[in-house]
Symmetry: C2
Subunit: 234 residues, 2 copies
């Protein structure tokens, strides 16, 4: 069965890259049901360098770096690419317009899922950068969907939890409870579902324990990637 060779821009961070890699393989094998594995090429960037671009707001340099990396994936035979990171999507359009290789956009995939499930008001949880930036809010609002955030204090706490507690194999019960409390509060404000716009959040929050449906951005992105790779793009 033919499929398009996948190119991944990863390394930001490495554990998200591993998650994408494993989920793409599992999803591909589930869909195909034979002994084959998807061939793919991963360009793992230097997270230290990328963080500097974000801190200094050097988005031109960040775009240059991504264009160069995607062009390398193209030369290595990839037929499309993806950015395995929420925050890097802020330069998605600038990168896409400079390259000929198609890219599967994470934000668009999540927006598509929100629309398909006909949610009119959704909550958003992720890193501070992703919550405060218009990355999700703008395209959601353009589609007439309201985007709700936890309050400033909770945003700062969520960021701290992502950087600390969620990096440990044993996540404290009180951290899980407070994350779910944030989901509950977003629900009280009218959210019908909450977007988990960070690879680490779904590790701590299962939908069974949650008062609202949770939209795992990585999971939704991987389904869109497999749809594109296998020619079932929605």
């Amino acid at each position: 069965m033919a499929y398009k060779r996948i190119g991944i821009i990863g390394g930001v961070g490495p554990s998200a890259t591993v998650l994408y890699y494993q989920r793409i393989i599992i999803g591909y094998r589930e869909r195909r049901g034979d002994e084959y594995f998807p061939e793919m090429v991963i360009h793992s960037l230097d997270m230290g360098e990328i963080n500097e671009y974000f801190e200094k707001e050097e988005f031109g340099s960040l775009s240059d770096k991504l264009v160069q990396a995607v062009e390398g994936l193209q030369k290595a035979g990839c037929e499309f690419a993806l950015l395995a990171c929420n925050a890097m999507h802020m330069v998605f359009d600038r990168v896409q317009e400079r390259i000929s290789l198609p890219m599967v956009n994470l934000i668009e995939a999540v927006l598509g899922e929100v629309k398909r499930r006909k949610f009119k008001r959704v909550g958003l949880m992720g890193t501070t950068f992703v919550m405060r930036h218009g990355l999700y809010r703008q395209p959601l609002e353009l589609s007439g969907i309201q985007c709700l955030l936890p309050d400033k204090e909770e945003q700062a706490w969520i960021m701290k939890a992502i950087l600390e507690d969620l990096q440990n194999p044993h996540i404290p019960q009180e951290t899980i409870a407070r994350l779910l409390k944030n989901v509950e509060r977003l629900g009280e404000q009218g959210a019908e579902a909450v977007i988990l716009a960070c690879t680490d959040l779904p590790v701590a929050m299962s939908e069974e324990l949650s008062p609202l449906p949770l939209l795992d951005s990585t999971k939704i992105h991987v389904e869109a990637i497999l749809d594109f790779a296998l020619g079932n793009a929605k």
Copy 2:
């Protein structure tokens, strides 16, 4: 600090690829001690396709595939490459002679370690293919080092353990005990150390529990890769 961009030929299997990826990042960061991460490109092959080449003994097609993948890594800016798999090293020389990119050889790295530690007789544990093939035995014997194997029955059992028990997060105690018993028997036959020529074996066998020093092929390979990347090649 300058370093050579690493190219990994992976996917055979995916968990070995993840192990190389994580260990290279950890090792690089330990050696540098700053906020940077190594930039690298991973070409993950289709394990189903590669297994077919092995089963049908189509080593020409396997070499063609690897040459193409390494050339792709070169085009993506890699300055050297490695095969993240023991068995694929049987075509290492044929691949290397067709490409200009240098490759860091796993078998040579292990041989170097055996010589540095002045072992004259070593045991070898790995998949059936790796144990029965001259992959390690030939270069060891050319250096005057004897290579001992578990008996045929135990070779078959080790292969089964690698495919079954060692893939589970909880490895049965009796599997660990029998693996260590094999190390002990190789010691009784005169082995001074045992090469663990499979990424899965070190998960089950720690050196503290072992009657002999264990040479973890992945660990030794990663050190050689970092030496090469950072310009400290031995």
